[in-house]
Subunit: 388 residues, 2 copies
Amino acid sequence: MIIENSLDEVKKRETSLKIIKSIINAHGRDNLYDFTGLSGGFLATTDDLNLLETYVGPAIFEEKLQYLGKVHLGGEKIFPVNRTSSGILATILALVPRNSCVIHFVPELPSHPSILRSCKLKNANYIEFDDISRFHTPQNTSLIIITGATMDHKVIDEEIFEKIIAKAKEKEIPVLVDDASGARLRTAIYKQKKAIELGADLVVTSTDKLMMGPRGGLIGGKTELIDEIKACATKFGLEAQPPTILAMVNGLESYNENNLLNSIEKRNKLIKILKNDFKYFEESPTGVMISENSLKKEIANQNIETTFSPKDLCFLWAMILLKQEHIITIPAVAMPGASATVRFDLASNDALKLDIAILQDKIKNSFKYLLKIATDEEVAKDILFNCE
Amino acid sequence: MIIENSLDEVKKRETSLKIIKSIINAHGRDNLYDFTGLSGGFLATTDDLNLLETYVGPAIFEEKLQYLGKVHLGGEKIFPVNRTSSGILATILALVPRNSCVIHFVPELPSHPSILRSCKLKNANYIEFDDISRFHTPQNTSLIIITGATMDHKVIDEEIFEKIIAKAKEKEIPVLVDDASGARLRTAIYKQKKAIELGADLVVTSTDKLMMGPRGGLIGGKTELIDEIKACATKFGLEAQPPTILAMVNGLESYNENNLLNSIEKRNKLIKILKNDFKYFEESPTGVMISENSLKKEIANQNIETTFSPKDLCFLWAMILLKQEHIITIPAVAMPGASATVRFDLASNDALKLDIAILQDKIKNSFKYLLKIATDEEVAKDILFNCE
């Protein structure tokens, strides 16, 4: 293992940020291609900015956010948080009594680590399922969490969603839906209902995933629960700050389902041409991706034997894509514990400025280089941690 | 008690934000006077804004922040967090093992509640002192926290600071200094050394306190500790987001000790003229203030008997100041658990646009009205929770 723990992941991310800076300085922002699907941007006018002061900004933008947030998520009240992870932390700290039980249904394991981590702080008994037939709620269950779409964009079946809600209502247990990308993916692409319409009490989404918002989270739901979460969040400093709230307002205003739908057409083209050279690429809802284990198989399929872990191979490829091809993918820049799947999200803004055939070349070239160095630990470490 | 708990405080804050919005809409930003000393603002150029994307922004601003942060705080490495409270949470989650002991020295009790709250999540044994002669460190102490300056701007004695550091070094216990406003107050006004220069391992400051930065926190200190804190913070979503980092960079660049020093002269004028009508106003380092208990005494001194709690009286006065005089003070807009002391901070930007004699009138008029309604619970509730 080269990337062994969270500290290594932070170090790797720091390397990436420095590389990104040097690419922009040397080649300009136009020659950098962000395919993470997470890079929402920060939309603001000069008038907006003049109002961005600690206590004045939120007063102005709060009302707009309430309106737009409710249109987007449903629910009675909206609360903006610093990140989806901090929103999940606030919800668990506020609603889960010590030593009670939290049940989590995820369309496909593994789940996002932020839920288990937050549960540990309340010494809660955390149980997760991806098989509805095994789903049950112990007597002291204080919260049920449903993941609407996983980090790798696996989407929950709407019927299973409704089954869980029915069970929760029967036992009067509140339901939080982690709809980080799902709030758009499930609704725009899969034509499912909003989490709140399906009966959830709370939903949280990431305003930088599949929309032009800032990194941040938006919680919607019942006023009474939101008020409890908000009181807890402001105590620990988990709420979104004024500039983020402003960017959320503008991101929500500019959100348009059609941009997501267009990306599907591009995805179909790309996956078709990639099939000439690769065996294990898969479709994601708005792009193409290759998981840790699939990448290991893809390399084996080229008759290269490597002792590198599947995760390290993903990190390595992501760093080669960044350093040589100026393409940003999630494994290069993610926070610790995020999925290492290499994904090219065609709903990203930067997808508009790169022809599909050129993207194909960049993917092929960087993969060729990955094959070349996939057995050399010294070179690999240099790629992961050296900014030169 | 009218404001009984955190939920009430959140409700009161929401009322204030709506009032602020309606004042700006009806009278313009120029007729609103923010005397919190917390309203830093958001300085940014158009070029800055074009770079504000999730993964690209921090790459650009991170390097500048490292440089400017180290100039401001000292230390080997800087880490920006969403709020000082979230920085304290991250530090305690990262460095305090379960059931160990955290020692906190504060120049004058009560201490800021974020430290105790964070300790509870690790089931840590929390001990606080404001008397150095009682200071001791039990055997399983994992962290010593020193508050450099309290919420009410009471500043630590530098000799006591050094004594605690010496004890910590002897036992090899890391020291975090909560220098929220102290990083500027202690150094610019009291001519003390930076926390790191005095031997602290870590220091955290609020970039919106006594400087033109955004609401947010900045941690500085030893690389090894910062890396641990950062890994923990990014897991829970406690780090500052790109727009905040940008505003921190510009806030640090524009920081100038002389602005703080000028406010002292204004303070001396104001306290002198207030003494004509008030008995219990005190000086703060950069303004004037009246604590909960002093306000209760001030009202009694006018021969008004009220059953309202001292805290409620502060909240009420702050709301009258906002609604009738368009003056923002901390009790009107603070997060739950903050001090209810009514303070007029003359280092605030808006102090520049209000003559001292007019400010005196506004303080007098609003206090007269407070006396009038200080026995009427219905009117008081209306003032605290009604936005009309």
